[in-house]
Every structure is written in structure tokens, then in C-alpha cells.
Amino acid sequence: MSGTPLLSLAIWVPILAGLVVLATGSDRNAPLARMLSLLGAVAGLLVTIPLYTGFDVHTPAMQFVELRSWIPRFNVNYHLGVDGISMPFVILNSFITVTVVLAGWQVIESKVAQYNAGFLIMSGLMNGIFSALDGVLFYVFFEASLIPLYLIIGVWGGPNRVYAAFKFFLFTLFGSLLFLIALLYLFLASGGSFSILDWHQMPLALNAQVWLFLAFLIAFAVKVPMWPVHTWLPDAHVEAPTGGSIVLAAIALKLGAYGFLRFSLPITPDASHELAGLVIALSLIAIIYIGFVALVQDDMKKLVAYSSIAHMGFVTLGFFIFSAMGIEGALVQMISHGFVSGAMFFSIGVMYDRAHSRQIADYGGVVNTMPKFAAFFMLFAMANAGLPATSGFVGEFMVILASVKHNFWIAFAAATTMIVGAAYTLWMYKRVVFGAVANHHVAELTDINAREFLIFVLFAIGALGMGLYPQPFTEVMHSSVNELLHHVALSKIQ
């Protein structure tokens, strides 16, 4: 692959921009820090656009590949490349970074440079995760990305931020350790290769596959998060600043799901088939159990956090019914969830910035004082409830239809989200937005300003565009998903 190293740019432009922002130092230079951050974020987004426009949809092979030796002694390489599964997430991540920088513009007033630098560096690291093709490189990015998020929650978070940050860190670290062991085992078993693509082709006994699969499962399940290792997420969201919640929901949750496609399915295909029932069961629990839990939340952020878990249940369900529509539906759901949950957390942030409460009971009749906001919030609430013409519908529709083919009753259980998802989202909307003005806090609310309007428009373009015309999104996935399914259908046991 000749030409510009686009993936390196996607990783290092935001990181370097972050370091430059960090250099502006104290809050005296906050306006400069903000401008530089926005520039860095936009530049980071622009360098990812050629990944889409230059993408060859006809090949399942890795594209924009970069391969350099990094630690020759252990055969560790700086090996990057994207296929139809990972490429959309590099762009989504860079897009979300722009919205996050904008979202913190007037809200974050202390340690501005450090805050923005944290997000820019994290953005680069996450692009690294999605494009790494070397096990060690992947692991380094995977772990390093935890640090900025941990700091963002721990420094700019709410009153209980330290507990939440620790819980988040320990949960994910626990998963990561098992993941590291799995990587080392694969290194030895493959005769000294850290190449993920080599691991895909490597024969493995069923017994080894099962152990590897379980290690991967625990590592990724924590990130997704899947029931029952999900309880860190609501706490993390509640304490995180708005930008942290957006990144957490839009990108960080996708890392675990991406891991299933990059590691679990291709490396341990036989174990994936053997244990698919387990993952499907956990996914359905996430959809139903978590849906009911979301229904009774009093805190808006917790409610949306739980709804994220339920939506991610569709993703893992879609992966493990082994059909093209299931996997593509799950990928669509991941991208859609980036727009929709990002927008939901931003909406809550908009209210929190004004009234300093996330409790549903503290609101009522917001539409009277914030009509423009109410219109946008309605759009994203409906998208969260999976209304057609929004992106939220496409993924659910595909996964439900695909699972009918797999097993009617699995689809039956999953489709209950049509009712429960609408119930928790719209019930919250009713209590918060509709009704007469509930108290003087609501009476004093001011409608969204131009900056907030712009952010909402960005999210709305994503959610509506994908809902009305999802074909450009799924088109790039076809070759890679078909190749993956073909690969997973072949046994690796020799």
C-alpha cells in the first residue's frame, strides 16, 4: 500500500494535537486551548474521510495497511489496517471527538487544556485499537485508552467520581488481565507471532479454543458491557462529565463488541459455535432484564446508561446468530448507538448545565421553556426507542429479522424491546419534557444556544441520515462480513 499513511495520521494527529493543547498550560490560555482542540479534532476527522472515499468495497482484505517492525526480538510489529468492520468506527470516533470538544466549550472551565487534551489523546488511541493488526499493539492501545477516560471521570466527574472511576478501572483491568494471558498463549501457540491475521488462520484444538474464548468473553463482556458485569457502567456515566459520557457510550462500549469480531469469532470459531448459546442467553438477559431496570430509574443518566446496555445486547445477539444480516445489523446498531446515545447524553448534559440535576423528578414541562431543545430531544428519544427513519430502527430491525431465521423465540424475546424500550424512553420524556412547568428551576431554563444547536444538528444528521439511507453504511461491510462468516463456518480443529 503506497501513499499517505492514513491510519497513522488518524492515530497520531489527535494525539499530537492533544500534546500541543496540553502545552498551552494553565487556564489563562483556555480560549486558545479550546480553539486548538477544535482544530485538532476537525483535522483528525478530515484525515479519516479518505478512509471512506478510498475504500474498496469489493475486497475483504485489510486496506491502508502499514507494517513496520517495532520490537523485532518478540516479533512485535507496528501493523495497521482496516476492513469493512473496523473502518466505520475510525470515522465515527473522530466524528464524536469533534462533538465532545464542542460539548465542553462553555461548560468546562477548570483545567480546560488538560480536559480537551485527554479527549484528543483518547481519540487517537481508540483509532489505534480499531486499526491495530498486531496483538501487542492492540493491547497497548486497548489499555492506554483506559487512562484518559479514567482521568476524565476522576478529575472532572461528579461528587462520587472516585468510586466510579475505581470501579470502572478495576472492572476493565480485570478483564484485560485475562486478555493478556490469552494473547501470550496465542503468541506461544503460533510459534512466535503476534499478528492477529496469523492467529485467524492458526489451527487450535477445541479445548484450547474454549479457554481462549472464555478469556476473550470476560475481557470483552466487561467492556460491552454484558450482564452480569455491567454494573460499573451506570456509575461511571452518572459521575462522568457530559463529554466523558458521550465518548464512553459512543465509542468505548464499541471496543468490546469489536473485540468479539476481531478476536473471538475468527480465532476460536469452533468454540464460538459451541458457546454461542451462552452469549445469546446473556444478550437476551441484557435486553429484557436491563430494559425493566431502565424503566424504574430516577436518574436520567442511569436510565440512558441502562438503555445502552440493552442496546448493546442487540449487538452481541446479532454477532452470535452467525448470519450476514445479524452481524451487519449489529454493526449498524453499534454505529447508530454512537449517534443516538451520544445525543441522549448530550441532551441530559444540556439540562444538567442549566438546572444542575439529573433527577427526573426535578423536571417537568421543560418544553414550555426550551421548545427547540424539546424537539431535538424528541427526535433522539424516538431514535432510542427504535422508530423507523432513525438509525435506531435499522439495527434492531435487522437483528430481529435475522434472529427469526435463527430461532423464533429468540426473536420473540428480543422484540420485546419494541415495547419496553419505548416505555422507558418515552415515559422519561413525558415526565421531563411534557406537562406544565413543574418548578421555578424549570421556569428559569433558557433554550439551547447556537453551539448546542450545532451539536444537535450534527447528531441529527447522523441519526436521520443512517435511518433514511443505511445502504452506504452497510455497503462497506459486506465483503468483510461475508468473509468473516465464511471463515467462522470452517473448523479450526485438526
Binding site: V293, F397, W427, F434
Partner: protein, 700 residues
Amino acid sequence: MEMQKLYLLVPLAPLVGAIIAGLFCRVIPRWVAHGVTIAGVAISCFASFLIYKDVMAGNTFNGPVYQWLTSGDYRFEVGFLIDQLSVTMMLVVTFVSLMVHIYTIGYMQDDPGYNRFFSYISLFTFSMLMLVMSNNFMQLFFGWEAVGLVSYLLIGFWYTRPTAIFANLKAFLVNRVGDFGFILGIGLVLTWFGTLDYAAVFAKAPAAADTTISLFGSGKGVELMTAICVLLFVGAMGKSAQVPLHVWLPDSMEGPTPISALIHAATMVTAGIFMVARMSPLFELSDTALSFVIVIGAVTALFMGFLGVIQNDIKRVVAYSTLSQLGYMTVALGASAYSVAIFHLMTHAFFKALLFLAAGSVIIGMHHDQDIRNMGGLRRYMPITWLTSLIGSLALIGTPFFAGFYSKDSIIEAVKLSHIPGSGFAYFAVMAGVFVTAFYSFRMYFLVFHGEERFGQTAHHAGHHDAPAAHTHHDAHAADADAAHHGHDAHHGADTGHGEHHGLAPGQKPHETPWVVTLPLILLAIPSVVIGYVAIGPMLFGGYFKDAIFVDEQAHPVMEELAHHFHGAFAMATHALTTAVFWLALAGVALSWFLYLRRPDIPEAVKSRFAPIYTLLDNKYYFDRFNEVFFAGGARLIGRGLWKGGDAGLIDGVIVNGSARFVGWFASVVRFFQTGHIYHYAFTMIIGVFVLMTLWVTRA
């Protein structure tokens, strides 16, 4: 090629109007909002008419507009199917919508949400057109949910009213229950036929007529077509408000009256009827599903009619009559008389829209009092409203020569000829329904337009069963700083308990409404009279629908036999004078005349004499109570249990914090060994050396 652009114009013209009126609702003056939306719908209506003529000339169309999504072997497209069925629906939808748009200028003139309202009803028109013009299940579902969304927005249009925002949430969720079945039905279609395109599915379906699938483990399977049709029909039950998913429709009357006419009577609620007719090639393959359809329809037709008898809110009487009429249409579907169902859908759209808009006119004339017990003698003050209401009521009860007669009588005849299991019960239900319909329709008509003038009295019949609730509503309104948000029926009649604020002051008289209100009434009254007479011959027996509706003549020869009995529209009407149906309707009218104009004391006596039955009806058979306690309350209970017990108790309490506590406990035990005193360490060391030596010695 030109026609295809015209097809596209039909849904897009109202969409453009909706977008302009919606996005700029805060900046544009009112005339722009109603101007662009009415222009959009008028264009759409005119284009539909051109398409109708083209279709009648034999030019149907089935093709994609754009490819929405491909995945695996599946393709999903947005596309149009233009045939006799869809063009009929397009005409009905755009015409009624246009009438309602014009009427809204008068009805909503004092409302601050004027522009927003026009945006919503145009958006609804777009969604409904996408639904009826679709050539595939995906787009059908899109339109299906989109009309649900607009219905949600419009029921909650006066968003400061607690009852309105309760009703719209309820409507959305109950519809979602239907959609839950609907999407599973679509999933089965895709699984078994590999496509969601109507034509392709219909072509493949007959081959699958004998296929069974095992849904309930081993043992005997379920017929595939039965499963598909019943699941699809569950969707129709939600949208078309069939028992037990009917509970949202009466509450939807919280919305402004124009949308009650457009969405909750004439068009959206008939989407389920349309869908089943569209799917006739599938339903014809399953007698079990048809039986299910006819029984559900019959229950709805009769039992919802009973509830109309005891309602005192003018809009709710019409709402229950809508439920009952939807039941009639469903019965026709179950009897394989799809064309009759569509025929009744069409006539009903005209006369029910008329009745609702007339009710709205009465509400304006009465200054927002909706309680029919406070009316009486209005015919002298509102002559146009009176006459058009009379026409609507006569059409509704099936008076010979009126539109409703031809469609309803055809349904009754079709059910009589049907041999589907359940058709016997359905025949009884629709016959009894005739009497009930005539009774409650004319009860309302007499109470509103005839008899003594009961308006303008200070003592209103306020506060009956939900009197305590009335105070909370009242308080909520008092707290509402923005009183301007209340539209016409923002405080409606005694049913929500604040009738005392509204209605006519003593000595004040009702007045006729402006021309923008009465013109649509007149324009709707015309088809309410003539459309049945004109259309029955061609539509039911003239092969109007051609291939758009499929009936298995061998298995369900209802339409064929019906055609034998049909000797022209005039003969049908004159023959009807000798049938039981006519005399039942007449008896209903006569009884209501006697009870409500001659002897008003009798209904009160009956009410107290049969108190248990009255209570049962007043509580609408306790469906609402049951849903609130069992489903809504149950879901919250489960949610709270899983949250506190599962997440907080078990996972966080025992496992997460438990393991943290375990580490803490372990550390605290180990800590005892780290005392910092040198003699403790020395002592421990000696013990250790001693143990090791002992081991070494004993081994040796």
C-alpha cells in the same frame, strides 16, 4: 416515466409542506403555515386523482424508488405499488386530509401551536401515503410506525394537560404491543420467502400453504401461514384498535378534534384494515387466521358499541362508534369480503370524518363544552352543523340510499354467507350492533340538536365518577403559567371534570361556526350520501380491484354468492326496507327518541336499576384498570426487583463489593502478622525453623 414522478409527488408534496411549517414554525406567519401545507395536500390530492384515472385506464405500477439496504442475500427497497387498492386509499386519505386542513384554520385559530399543528397533520399525510403506496413490508412498517409517531405527537398536542400526555404515551405503547407481533410476522415472511417485496411474497406463498413450523418444541407444528397471518393481524389490532388493544383509541380524544377526525377515525386507524386487505393472498391461505380475525372483529363491533351508549362526552360517543365500525370492517375481512371492508372503510372515512368535524363545530358553538347533557335544541342555532350531523348519523346507522347502508349491509350479507368458524357469532354481533349503533347515534343526535335547551345554565352536570381527579387537573392548570397554551377543547367537558369553567354563560346562545368549518362539513356530507350508491356496483361486483385483492373463490365463495343477490344499488335499497336489519336500526332510533326526548326519566331509572351493568360499562369492562395494575404496575415491580435485588443486591452487593470486602478481610487478617515488633518476627521465624526441621527429621 412521467407517471412515476407523479407518484413521487403525492407523498413528497405534504412532506415539503410539513418541513416548511415545522422547521420555521416560530418565524413564519400563520397564513404561510396553512398556505404551504394546504397547497401541498391539494397538490397531492389532485395528483392522486390523475393517478386514479391512469390506473382506471389499466396502468398499474410496481417498482422501487431507491435501494434502502442490502444485507446478505436480502434486499430492502423503498418503492411504490400503485394499483386499484392503493389509489383508492390515496384518494380517501388526501381528500379527507384536505378537508381537515381547511377546517383546522377555523378550529385552531386561537391556538398558539397553530403552525406546529399544520406541520404535524401534513407530516401525518405523508406518512399515511407512504404506508398505503408501499410495495414492500419494510416500507409498510416504516409508514406504520411513522403514523404512530404523529398520532403520539398530536394526541399530546396540548402537552401541558396531564390527561393528554398520559393518553399519548398509552397510545404509543399499546400500538407498540401490536407492532411487536407485526415485526415478528414480517420476520417469518422474510425467513420463509427470502424477500419483503409484496409481489414476490404473494407469488411464493401458495407453495407454502401446507408448510408447518414447529414453534412449540416437538409435537405438532403450527401452520406457517397461520402464524404469519395471526402475527401480522396483531399489528392490525394495535393500529385499528381491536379488542384487547383498543384501549388507546377512546383516550386519543384528548387530541384536538381535527385529528380525531383525520387520524383516529378516517385514516390511520383503518391502516390495519387496509393492511389485511393488501395481504389477502396470504390470509386466504389460512382459515384459522380468518376465524381469528372474524371473532376479534365481532367482539369489537358489538362490545365497543355498548360503551357508546353510556358516554356523555360528544367526542367519546363518536370514538366508540369508530371502534365498533372498525370491528365491522374487521368482520368483513374475516369473511373474505376484503373489497367490502375497503368499501366500508371508504364510506366510513367520509361520514365519520363528517361526524367528528360536526362534533368539533358543536364544541366551538358551545364554547368548548363537550358534555351532551348540557346541549339540546342546537338545531335552531347551528343549522348547517345540524343538517350535516343528521346526514352523518343517518349514514352511520345504515339508512337505505345513504353511503353507510351499502357498505354495512354488504358486510352483514357477507357474514351471513360465510362458513368460516366464528361467522355465526359474528353474524349475531353485527346484527345486534345495528340496533346498538342506531340507538347511541341517535341518542347523541337527539340530546344535542333536539329537546329542551339545557345550555347556559349555571349548574352543570359536573363531576361524576372522576370528581376527585378533577381537582388535581384543575390545580395543574392553575399552576400553568402559560394559559395561552390551552386550545379549544383544552378544558373539555365534564368527563375530565372542569366543565364548570366552560360552556355558555347564562343567557348566551350557541352560534354557527365560520365558513372554513362548515365548508368541509358540506363537502364531506355529499359523499356521505352518494358514494355508496355510486360505488357499490363497480367496487364490489364490477371487478374494480382486479388483482389488487385476491379471494380464493373455491374455499371462500362469499363475494360470488353476494354478487348473485345483487341487482343494482336501487333495488338493494328498496329491498332493504323489508329486512330485519332495517327494522333493527329503526327500532334503535325509535327507542332513543322515546327514551331521550319523550321520557328522559326512564334512562335514569334504568341506570340505577341495573347499577352493576352500568358500572361495568362505565369502567369500560375494566380493561384500563387491568392494564394499569397488571402490565404497567407489574413492569415497574419487576424493574425495581431486578434493580434492587439483582443489580444492587446480588451483583454489586455480593459479588463486586463482596470480593472487595473479601480482599479487605483477607488483608486485615494478614495484617496481624505485620506488627512491626522484632520479637514477633523472631518468634515466628523460630517456629518456622522448628516446623521445617521436624518435617525434615520425620521424613528422614
